[in-house]
Symmetry: D2
Subunit: 267 residues, 4 copies
Amino acid sequence: MENDHDNYAQAGDLIQLTSPNKKNHFLQLSVGGKLQTHRGTIHFENIIGKPWGSEILTHTGSTYYLLNPSIHDLLLEIPRNTQIMYPKDIGFVLIRMGIGEGQTVLEAGSGSGALTTALAWAVGSIGKVISYEIRPEMLNLVRKNLERLNLADRVLLKLQNIDEGFEERNIDAIFLDVHNAYDFIHHVRNSLKPGGHFGCIMPTTNQVTRLIETLRQYTFVLIDVCEIMLRYYKPVPGRLRPTDRMVAHTGYLIFARMGITANQSAS
Amino acid sequence: MENDHDNYAQAGDLIQLTSPNKKNHFLQLSVGGKLQTHRGTIHFENIIGKPWGSEILTHTGSTYYLLNPSIHDLLLEIPRNTQIMYPKDIGFVLIRMGIGEGQTVLEAGSGSGALTTALAWAVGSIGKVISYEIRPEMLNLVRKNLERLNLADRVLLKLQNIDEGFEERNIDAIFLDVHNAYDFIHHVRNSLKPGGHFGCIMPTTNQVTRLIETLRQYTFVLIDVCEIMLRYYKPVPGRLRPTDRMVAHTGYLIFARMGITANQSAS
Amino acid sequence: MENDHDNYAQAGDLIQLTSPNKKNHFLQLSVGGKLQTHRGTIHFENIIGKPWGSEILTHTGSTYYLLNPSIHDLLLEIPRNTQIMYPKDIGFVLIRMGIGEGQTVLEAGSGSGALTTALAWAVGSIGKVISYEIRPEMLNLVRKNLERLNLADRVLLKLQNIDEGFEERNIDAIFLDVHNAYDFIHHVRNSLKPGGHFGCIMPTTNQVTRLIETLRQYTFVLIDVCEIMLRYYKPVPGRLRPTDRMVAHTGYLIFARMGITANQSAS
Amino acid sequence: MENDHDNYAQAGDLIQLTSPNKKNHFLQLSVGGKLQTHRGTIHFENIIGKPWGSEILTHTGSTYYLLNPSIHDLLLEIPRNTQIMYPKDIGFVLIRMGIGEGQTVLEAGSGSGALTTALAWAVGSIGKVISYEIRPEMLNLVRKNLERLNLADRVLLKLQNIDEGFEERNIDAIFLDVHNAYDFIHHVRNSLKPGGHFGCIMPTTNQVTRLIETLRQYTFVLIDVCEIMLRYYKPVPGRLRPTDRMVAHTGYLIFARMGITANQSAS
């Protein structure tokens, strides 16, 4: 049991303590440590060796659940110094752009690193993520988060602007999360492999309009624009109903494939 | 170039030919073969050796794009003998339940195999999917699709009902897509690892109500119910607007973690 | 009973026959007449004198319901030679712009007359609607529909373009349903009463952007942009769930009040 | 100008002062009065005689707009001692149930009076609203609000529970906003005119399920269940985008017509 990190929380593990109303604490389990919550104190000696999923009581008797951190909750936990991408968008981006095991993907900018983390998770141990960011403090944050999740070795963080383009070539998928993504589409074209996946998130319709124009100009094809709305329900059996409020908008998602026209192909 | 399947379409490759209005054809590229579309014929000799993303013209001059098949489009392509899960839901399920490289996940039933395919894709080459289904004809369909995508060796297809439960233990995540999922929650509990992820899709509110009740009864915690709405836009730069119609509902998604109460834990 | 049009269908009445799956027929009840449906024939002699709400059987035994026509269903029934406004939008427009009994409202263009009809209904017997339209065939359609509903005397239909503006002054509320509404905002200003309500529906984001700019330029205040989504459910008690598909978009609604800046006011 | 309440704010008028970010103050204009806002003081002497729509500056120079109160804003302003109905729902209810000039409509319960107010507004000077409510303090609130808007003479407020049904007969439309609406459907049937309109709002799916069952049992036909989602946009020309958050749910709307089966009709 001592080495069975899969079933039991062990010293050194990154754990998630979640209250019944879904407030999360993420922390590294240490011998002798404790967590102070506004609902009471939890001593780690009461956690170590417990199976994942266990109800943990604070000294005042409040309930927390001991969980093996989920990528979903970890993404929501990322400090929002800047606007972060939400799991609802990230999940769709991954499957829409086919970002899976062994792929090489590139993003700019790293931002708070929510997408960076998800990409690193998705490409697996033999995949690679390259992430450009110009704000050193953001990049440090991203690095720390990746290290905490043992994902750092899959990611090349580059403190570099993208005005001159990306140094990499033959990339499977490129995702831009920068306000003026339309200014870098020719660079995307240079770095994507033929037929490769382009994706982008933009908050305003005006940006989307301009991006579509530019994508067309640079022979990107099968352009799609969409938005994803996620509505939660109150999970009360006899009174099932949506929550009162919801996120109305995170951003528009834009996808395209790098195309080669019959003319380009012939030449 | 001949062996560069990554950049150029080669004989034997599974390819995707997509029209500008996004109608897809999936087929295996063969020497001497051809595709008849209602917009003209495409001879494969005009495709072999072309870079992915190339515009391919039919004999009448209509455009198709030559693409390395995307998992997203493959999922949408799966024959709908029965209701299939959509990428909008699948993408969220994967990230919500943390289904990634190396995991062992179980689903019932296989249905048309859209989720089976996505799970196999997501768990990577070292992961494992176990899928229960009682209709042999469905299972055959799923097997064929997995084989076409070289994912069959990651999936154990079981022609077996789940009334007596699942034979597997210590599973990372279990997803049920059966109309009476609430009848199998005790079996889910036996087969999930502590703290493991449970997920389900159900079309009606009445099913959801009953499922939540049962999940609570069997000490599942952090129950969430949600729905995902995906709205596409017409990607015309000067006239950006949503499409006229959209999918209003596929199903409610229900998620929970397998919990262990303080009492259970103590015993 | 013979004269009780309120409770019983009488010869001469405009009636609505609706099937259980909500297909509507609107017609004028005549002695000796009949309706041929693809589910059988209904002889009007079996209708005259029946209370509203009655189940009416065709000669093959299929059910229809005899209804006093509802404004909602009448609006949906209007022939769609052009894009019509939907009740979901119209209902909100009426209450948002305060269009009620005794008001004088102006619209351009009449289009198929869905909004015209609703406005005429809403302003009541002492209110007034002025409606501009440049296509004579549309205007005829609108006139016929208004006459059928006894609303024609509340509406002034003008076969006239609005390039030179509106001849009316001191209007309570003006609604534009023309693709280039932004070209007429100065005319709107001349015809609205101070603080009056402006409304507009536009399908694309680009139009909305341009309209907002123009409204600001002409000192319209409290500008609001919104969209309304209506989702129906299948009303089956044990299997309550949304319909499979829905209208994703009709148009963006834009509202504003005619403002007078402190400077303008002082002068 | 002194008597032109239509164009100029006069002493005694109910006015609306709205800030550019759409915070409303409703008040009666009095000679010598003033309004204290957290953005400065407005002296009424600076308002009286001003045209509606005028920009009014506080003593600190902050802007408010002087408006003739809109029914929409008045509805949103109603004190929320209890859950109120929103204009998005009310607008649709009015047009869906055909509630217009001269109709007699009944509702229970009055609640905070948002719907009561809207119904009184919609039926016009010759229409009638009957509203049942069992909480005297709520009824007082509703009465005050109606008096303020000069709508009180259109409404009969009844401090009475509805267990024994409604005393009125031959009503055009009945709307229930009570948690157990399904317990009163037989009473609704007794009080509606044949073919009359029934409407209801309910927050949970479980209530809706039960209501549909009961409506069917009591021969209501053409049952519809729907929900309305309203999403606002930030009206910034160059950066048009939805607001960050929105109301996810107010309630499900249920509509039906009172039917008479062929059997009932024959007897």
